[in-house]
Amino acid sequence: MAVPLGAFIAVSAVLFFIGTAGVLVRRNAVVILMSVELMLNATNLALVAFSRRYSSIDERGSVFVVFIFVVAAAEVAVGLAIVLSAYRNKPTVDVDEIKQMRG
C-alpha cells in the first residue's frame, strides 16, 4: 500500500506554513533566512511528489527542484553576505533595529 499523494502535499503545506510563521515571528535575520529555506524545501517536496505521482510523462518537476537548489544556494550566500555587511554598519542582526532606510 503506497502512501497517497495528498499526504505528501499536506506535509508540504504544513512545512511551508511553519516557514512562513518563522519569517513573520522571528526577528533574528539568520533565523529568517533559515525559515525561508524551510519554505523552499516544502515547495521542493510538493514538486517532487507531483512529478513522481501525478504525471507519468517525464520528470519536469524534478528539474525545477534542481533549479530551486541552485537559486537557494545563491540566495543564502548573498543573504548572509548582506546580513554580515549590515552587521558591520550597525552591530545588530535584529531586523527591527536595522531601519536606517525606513522612510
Partner: protein, 166 residues
C-alpha cells in the same frame, strides 16, 4: 505482508519533519535552530527517497544538509546572538490569529487531499535517467543561465563582505 512498512515510515518522517521544523521557529538558541534545520532537511530527503526520487534526495543531502547548513552556521558564528526577543505583534492577538488560521488550515487540508495519484503507474527504475534527459535536452539553456547566476552570486557575496582596504 510488508504493506505497512511504507505508511509507517511516512508517519515517522512526517512527525520528525514537522516537529523539527517547528523547533527551528520555536528554539531559543540559534545554534539549535540551525541543527534542527539540518535535521528537517534530512527528513525531507528521506521523503524524496520514499517517493522514488533518489537523485533529488542525493542533491538534497549534498546541497542543503552539507553546504547551506554550513553556510548558516558560519553566519551564526560571525554575528552576535542575544537571547530570543519574542515578536510582539502576533503574541498579543492570538485569539484573532486563531480565528483566521483555523479556517485556512481546514481549507488547505481539504484541498491537499483532493489530489489523487494518476491512474497510470510511474515508470520504475529511478529518476536519474529522466532527470538528466530533461535537464540536458529540454532545459539546457536555463541550466547554463543557472551557472551564470551562481557565479554572479559568488562574486556578489565576496564583494559584499570584503573589508575596505585603506
Amino acid at each position: 505482508m510488508y504493506d505497512f512498512i511504507e505508511p509507517a515510515l511516512f508517519a515517522a518522517l512526517t512527525i520528525a519533519t514537522i516537529a523539527s521544523g517547528a523547533g527551528v521557529v520555536l528554539a531559543n538558541r540559534i545554534t539549535t535552530s540551525a541543527l534542527l534545520m539540518a535535521f528537517t532537511f534530512l527528513n525531507v530527503a528521506a521523503m524524496f527517497l520514499l517517493l522514488g526520487a533518489e537523485t533529488v534526495a542525493m542533491f538534497q543531502v549534498l546541497i542543503y544538509v552539507g553546504a547551506i547548513t554550513v553556510l548558516i552556521l558560519y553566519g551564526v558564528m560571525f554575528t552576535p546572538q542575544s537571547p530570543r526577543p519574542y515578536g510582539l505583534f502576533f503574541q498579543t492577538q492570538k485569539w484573532w490569529a486563531a480565528v483566521f488560521v483555523v479556517p485556512i488550515a481546514i481549507f488547505v487540508a481539504l484541498v491537499s487531499f483532493t489530489f489523487k495519484d494518476s491512474a497510470t503507474v510511474a515508470p520504475r527504475g529511478g529518476d536519474l535517467l529522466p532527470l538528466a534527459t530533461s535537464v540536458f535536452r529540454d532545459f539546457a539553456f536555463p541550466f547554463e543561465v543557472a551557472s551564470v547566476l551562481l557565479l554572479a552570486a559568488m562574486v556578489g557575496a565576496i564583494v559584499l563582505v570584503k573589508r575596505d582596504e585603506e
